[in-house]
Amino acid sequence: MKRNRGMIVLFLAPAVFMFTVIFLYPIVRTIMMSFFKIDGITDPLAKWQFTGLDNFFKLANTSLFRISMWNLFRIWLVGGIIVMSLALLFAVIITSGIRFKSFFRAVIYLPNIVSAVALATMWLQYVYSPKFGLLKTVFSQLGFTSLAKIQWLDNDHKFAALLLAYCFGMVGYHMLIFASGIERISSDYFEAATLDGANKIDQFRYITLPLLKGVFKTNITMWSVTSVGFFVWSQLFSTVTADTQTITPMVYMYMQIFGAGNSVTERNSGLGAAIGVMLSICVVAIFWVCNHLLKDDDLEF
């Protein structure tokens, strides 16, 4: 077929233009900003003060930022293991031919359609309440007095409390992705394996898991991107002022760009941009590692 260069350019131009304006320009500007000290996020270039790599060094030397990175790592790793395990388990159960499949799927997905503000209020003011909370009541009735006395929102337990509440809402979303991946696998494989005498666990180990590699990659990437953007739950678990157990780099970035709490504090959008650059490097690194560890190019089904 004869190629018409004019047509190619014409059809590609809008997409390239949009990509440049919406993606490329913010990326380039953010990277540039990370090398400057900038008070207001929309300050003109003339007001930017070049500081080289100072923003990155300052972040590395700030204990609160290091704490926020540690929290993010814990959310990503511990939360990731919990959410992926439960999501996969539920996806396998849902797709195993149980009755009321749609009902269970809807119930597990339900927290995703409830506002995070409402969910967090329920967890904070009801489930974890040391006075009349759900956990306190349940543990008291079961006779576990030491567990009933735990103050779930004090500094020692706040991170676990936050993580539990967050994971509760995230399982359904990743379960749906896993379930759609499992449903894509032809039932012929399972029938053949059953005829050959493989039990359900073997089928899961040798058929489902290998054929879900691509879906794992998708889920891990999606989880990493949402973890990096962890903000709302952190804000809800520590209103007004940030908290060492719930602060994430995104919250730290917000403090640097728009000021912290009710106080008028020093702002530096350049520092915020540097955080953005660091986080995106993290996501790219995770994506790269995933691509190398979970190769699914060799399988076709």
Partner: protein, 441 residues
């Protein structure tokens, strides 16, 4: 390989675009708030205010409130009356707290036509100081100060660099609020004015079976800041907090004072795990705790839980032995209205400010929000906060928020964590100081 490179580029584009906006997830909230407030703004545009606003004849007003809040309702009523009386249309946009905090400066930088806006006194004058018009002449022309609160006008000039760049409304003061019924029951006839008197009062309250003091995580650093400022003054407190001078004896003295109260069991058993508003709602308002250090907005916030029979008391943070500051110092201030220096409608904008901050609508705002009136002619304060009047009138020195305790954003969460532990009794005074020193900055 090329495919992989493309995938990498796209992944990084996705990540950067997600992080580049800063608080990306709040955008949704802001957009929702804007959508929610757009309707009432349009409803009240009266004859196409939005069209007229940009052409120089109407006004554009960005407010920090939500349309559904009492403050928003009073402002809306003032704007409606202003338009009815003068024929000047007003495009009133309720942006909400995060909306104005995140959006005002970019909008002004982009040249958006905004004639006036409101927010907290410190943020308007400090963060947005470069966008403000000098209001001295406009105020003089209508003799505005004849009925204004002199202390607050002075505060506005102080933060405005010596000149008047904002007009206060909805004043507030930060002090100890208490349950008068508990004080009466245990026989405390005079509100504590010194730390020793507070100690005595707490002992009596504790003996009667109540929790003397409660607090929430959101306000706990204020206790630290106030005690420090009573000891060494606010500027020195700010110097210590910003400079990380944790070896200063005042830090240890503050920690020891609170460790002593914790040892005596004066704080709520759940103080270390109270996430706002658990302490103010479930303890103070429900009558199990007696005192809470908070702003004069507190009675309004908890009025539905506290009930009609709850009688409030208020006293300024007590003096401490050997300290520099007395009870006449506190964080008092207001929300303020300011005019964009590029506004073509400054006179009309100031006229609208007078509508909101004086007379009928100042009274309405005070009544609806159970707040302090800004107009000195509105001498009758809402009954719930009548106790605040003598405290407000006794003020001479103004602290910024948290009396300087939150001046260093990198340290606030660390002070908060360890002060909660100190009040909860899980660390001692030395442990508190050591934790701050370890954090460094």
């Amino acid at each position: 390989m090329r495919k992989r490179m493309m995938a990498l580029v796209l992944a990084s584009a996705m990540a950067v675009s997600l992080t580049a906006c800063g608080g990306g997830q709040t955008t949704g909230t802001t957009a929702a708030q804007e959508a929610a407030t757009a309707a009432p703004a349009a409803d009240n545009s009266q004859g196409g205010a939005a069209e007229q606003a940009g052409d120089g004849s109407g006004l554009v007003y960005w407010s920090m409130w939500e349309a559904t809040e009492p403050q928003g309702q009073a402002i809306q009523a003032a704007v409606d009356q202003f338009t009815a009386d003068t024929g000047i249309s007003v495009d009133l946009q309720f942006k909400g707290r995060t909306g104005i905090r995140e959006g005002l400066q970019p909008a002004l930088d982009a040249g958006t036509n905004i004639d006036l806006f409101d927010e907290d006194i410190d943020r308007v004058n400090t963060t947005w100081g470069q966008y403000l018009m000098d209001l001295e002449d406009l105020a003089k022309a209508v003799d505005y100060e004849a009925t204004a609160n002199a202390g607050l006008m002075a505060a506005c000039r102080e933060v405005g660099g010596g000149t008047l760049k904002s007009i206060p409304y909805q004043p507030n003061v930060f002090a100890f609020f208490y349950n008068q019924a508990i004080f009466d029951e245990v026989g405390i006839t005079k509100a504590p004015a010194t730390w020793a008197e507070l100690d005595d009062a707490c002992a009596k309250i504790k003996e009667a079976g109540y929790t003397p003091i409660t607090c929430d995580d959101a306000y706990i650093v204020c206790m630290f800041g106030y005690h420090m400022s009573r000891l060494v003054g606010e500027p020195k407190t700010e110097e210590i907090v910003k400079g990380g001078l944790w070896d200063d004896p005042s830090v240890t003295a503050t920690a020891e004072a609170y460790a002593d109260f914790a040892d005596k069991g004066y704080f709520s058993e759940t103080i270390a795990s109270n996430v706002w508003p658990a302490g103010q709602n479930q303890e103070l308002a429900l009558g199990t705790a007696a005192m809470y250090l908070n702003g004069s907005w507190l009675p309004n916030e908890v009025k539905d839980m506290a009930g009609d029979d709850f009688v409030w008391g208020c006293f300024s943070y007590p003096e401490v032995e050997g300290g520099t500051d007395g009870t006449d110092a506190a964080n008092y201030g207001a929300q303020v209205l300011a005019i964009n220096k590029d506004s073509q409608n400054a006179e009309n904008a100031f006229k609208l400010i007078c509508y909101i901050t004086q007379g009928e609508f100042d009274k309405m705002l005070s009544d609806l929000s159970v707040g302090i009136p800004a107009d000195s002619n509105n001498s009758e304060w809402p009954e719930l906060i009548a106790c605040v009047k003598p405290v407000m009138e006794s003020m001479n020195t103004r602290y910024p928020w948290a009396a300087g305790g939150e001046a260093n954003a990198d340290m606030t969460p660390i002070i908060k964590e360890n002060f909660l532990k100190l009040c909860g009794g899980t660390i001692d005074a030395q442990g508190f100081v050591d934790a701050l020193k370890k954090a460094g900055n």
